[in-house]
């Protein structure tokens, strides 16, 4: 006779059997049975107690994005679950495999407005690949297996399991031999006719371009992309989430397109005659005004999600399938060719529109400019071991994307589609747990940092020592201020932002704090932070009104870029 187990014990074991190593969460009434069961599994399933459920959700996302595995977060019913809504939406927009487990009131009182009862299934339906209310212990094994399958099959994404308290408490004999659930398979074969059509276009094009996105990273296609680009000589553009899909020190790497992309990249898109998009969804921050995007190009779009093809941009050759498989087949089907004339044309554009030039215009004083921090980081990082960078949302994020030379997949982690301020510190916590022997840098603004900085306490309690935080502190919600400066006649409504002394705040959490106000002190601070055996927060007090350029005003074509403010951007 097999031993009976509670639903909560079965939940823990089912997670472990699916490969889970860590969960990020906060307990509460409706999830207490799960927390009661956890200590029994503490050697197989680490629990990280976060300070806010939003932090737990972003930590699970950071873990997933850094490791390629499923991230798991746990919360109680009601406010615990609603606090997870932002990270779930973030994972939905950025195709991150996330499983959110929420406790729910007991099945007998569901629908009665019981204490801490919230319709979590109703709330999370539009922002999940799938969600499921589990009211019986007998369903738990199937629900967990299905959640892992759904989160990781095809285009990754978030899944919510809302598990009633009585389902966690009930004792049953678990049936581990039950058949695995089945879900619709992701596309596994690629239409060879489409590959031939794409290869023909790429072989005959005079000005071909590759646009590589998040899908290249999730399908493990970075080597396949490099081989294909090297065989064909076609230059490669990487989106924000494609950073690291193609090494930026490669001769064929062009940089980032879109709203804050380089001029030569956007001009190349507007001039190209064939555009091969691999694993990017033509986000509006990439395309600008969609009807004017790549007007001369035949478009080949490779995407694992059929519903992304033709959604924004008319596509000539749709290829539904995995990015790596598609690249390998394209590699076989496309003859070696030479694009050096076209590449030279783009490099000439780049010469004329020196991308970094704007940032190099620094005052003669010791006043600290944002670019000084990135410049020092680039120099110092060259001599350092494995590291990753997690950015938040705003100006500092675009500067990081523009100014840091990205080389490796999963080394750049950020919130893209949802643009979630407050993402970076908790996401770094997840990345630091996934890679305890690497240095995880957070680059964030003073606005975003103040949204989730309570997770410094989590970092301290967990004994995490490999996170270094660089706050690009300009005392504004800087990206909104920039828009106000450029498009709203400098009416700085709601954007000037005060904050605490971040170095002292860090010290209050038991984390080393530093402040840098002069350009001459940047190198020493970054070096010292890197050498410190412990987490460090550096408050970089930068010039307050520096803008991110180039910039495509919202709704404009990517051919219409501002490269500087109509008036001098620097307040003197």
């Amino acid at each position: 006779m097999s031993e009976t187990r509670t639903g909560a014990q079965i939940l823990c074991e089912a997670l472990i059997r699916e490969g889970a190593e860590v969960v990020f969460g906060i307990p509460g009434g409706a999830i207490m049975p799960f927390y009661h069961a956890l200590p029994e599994f503490q050697h197989q399933l680490r629990h990280v107690l976060c300070r806010h459920e939003q932090g737990a959700g972003h930590a699970a996302e950071g873990y997933a994005r850094a490791s390629g595995k499923v991230g798991i977060c746990v919360a109680t019913s009601g406010p615990g679950a609603t606090n997870l809504v932002t990270p779930i939406a973030d994972a939905w927009m950025d195709s991150t495999p996330l499983i959110a487990i929420t406790g729910q009131v007991s099945s007998g009182v569901l629908g009665t407005d019981a204490f801490q009862e919230t319709d979590v299934i109703g709330i999370t339906t539009p922002i999940t690949k799938h969600n499921r209310l589990v009211t019986r212990a007998e369903e738990i094994i199937d629900a967990v297996r299905e959640a892992f399958l759904i989160a990781t099959t095809g285009r990754p994404g978030p899944v919510v399991l809302d598990i009633t308290k009585d389902a966690q408490q009930a004792r049953i004999v678990p049936d581990w031999d039950a058949p695995y659930p089945t879900i619709k398979a992701a596309p596994t074969t690629i239409d060879p006719e489409r590959i031939r059509a794409a290869a023909r276009l790429l072989a005959e094009a005079e000005r071909p371009l590759i646009l590589a996105g998040n899908g290249v990273i999730w399908s493990g296609a970075t080597d396949a992309l490099r081989r294909f680009a090297e065989k064909t000589g076609i230059p490669v553009i990487t989106t924000l989430h494609g950073k690291g899909a193609f090494p930026e020190d490669h001769p064929l790497a062009l940089g980032m397109p879109g709203m804050h992309g380089w001029v030569h990249v956007n001009k190349a898109i507007q001039e190209c005659d064939v555009l091969l998009n691999i694993g990017s969804r033509f986000d509006d921050r990439v395309t600008g005004k969609a009807s004017t995007f790549a007007p001369n190009a035949k478009i080949i779009h490779v995407d694992i999600d059929r519903a992304e093809i033709g959604k924004i941009i008319r596509v000539d050759v749709p290829i539904v399938g995995d990015a790596r498989a598609a690249l390998e087949e394209l590699h076989a089907a496309t003859p070696a060719r030479d694009c050096s004339g076209w590449l030279a044309r783009i490099r000439a554009l780049q010469e004329r529109h020196q991308p970094r030039q704007q940032y190099m215009k620094r005052p003669a004083t010791a006043q600290l400019m944002p670019a000084d921090v990135y410049d020092a980081f680039n120099r110092i990082a060259l001599d350092r071991g494995p590291h990753r960078v997690v950015t938040d949302v705003g100006q500092h994020q675009m500067w990081a994307a523009q100014l840091i030379e990205w080389r490796n997949p999963r080394s750049h982690i950020t919130s893209g589609g949802a643009g979630t301020m407050g993402f970076s510190l908790p996401a770094a916590l997840g990345a630091a747990i996934a890679h305890p022997n690497e240095t995880i840098w957070v680059i964030c603004g003073d606005g975003g940092f103040q949204m989730t900085n309570q997770e410094l306490a989590t970092i301290q309690q967990e004994g995490i020592t490999n996170i270094k935080v660089a706050i690009i502190n300009n005392g504004y919600l800087g990206m909104v201020r920039q828009w106000q400066e450029l498009f709203e006649n400098r009416r700085y409504s709601g954007t000037p932002l005060s904050g605490p002394d971040f170095a002292r705040l860090a010290e209050a959490y038991g984390v080393r704090g530093m402040r840098v106000e002069h350009v001459d002190d940047v190198d020493a601070a970054i070096t010292e932070a890197w050498d410190t055996d412990g987490c460090v927060v550096i408050d970089f007090r930068v010039e307050r009104e520096v803008n991110v350029f180039p910039m495509v005003p919202q709704g404009k074509s990517i051919g219409e870029m501002l490269t500087e403010a109509p008036e001098p951007a620097l307040a003197v």
Binding site: I121, R132, I299, R306, A307, I309, G310, V315, P318
Partner: protein
Amino acid sequence: MNGTNDSGATTPRSGADDSNRHILVAQLRDRPNTLERAVGLFRQRGYAIERLSWTPGDTPDSRKLEVVVETDRVDLLVRQLERLVDVLSVHAAVPAR
């Protein structure tokens, strides 16, 4: 027109009133949240439902969703419905007058 069409081209807009009206017939797994998830997709992505029925499906554990909808992007709508985990099949047709 069938649901597996993944052509990138959008359905061209036509001047005739009825040409953008489509009837979608979908088979879905019979689960508690299936109808809400499918209907929510129409709302969120801005497809106006003219008529809807929810009836027993081809098998005991499936349901049939029939929706009359006016859109010039029916191919995209079909693909968006198809990617829902509980949607087993989707077919679109122009309704009889």
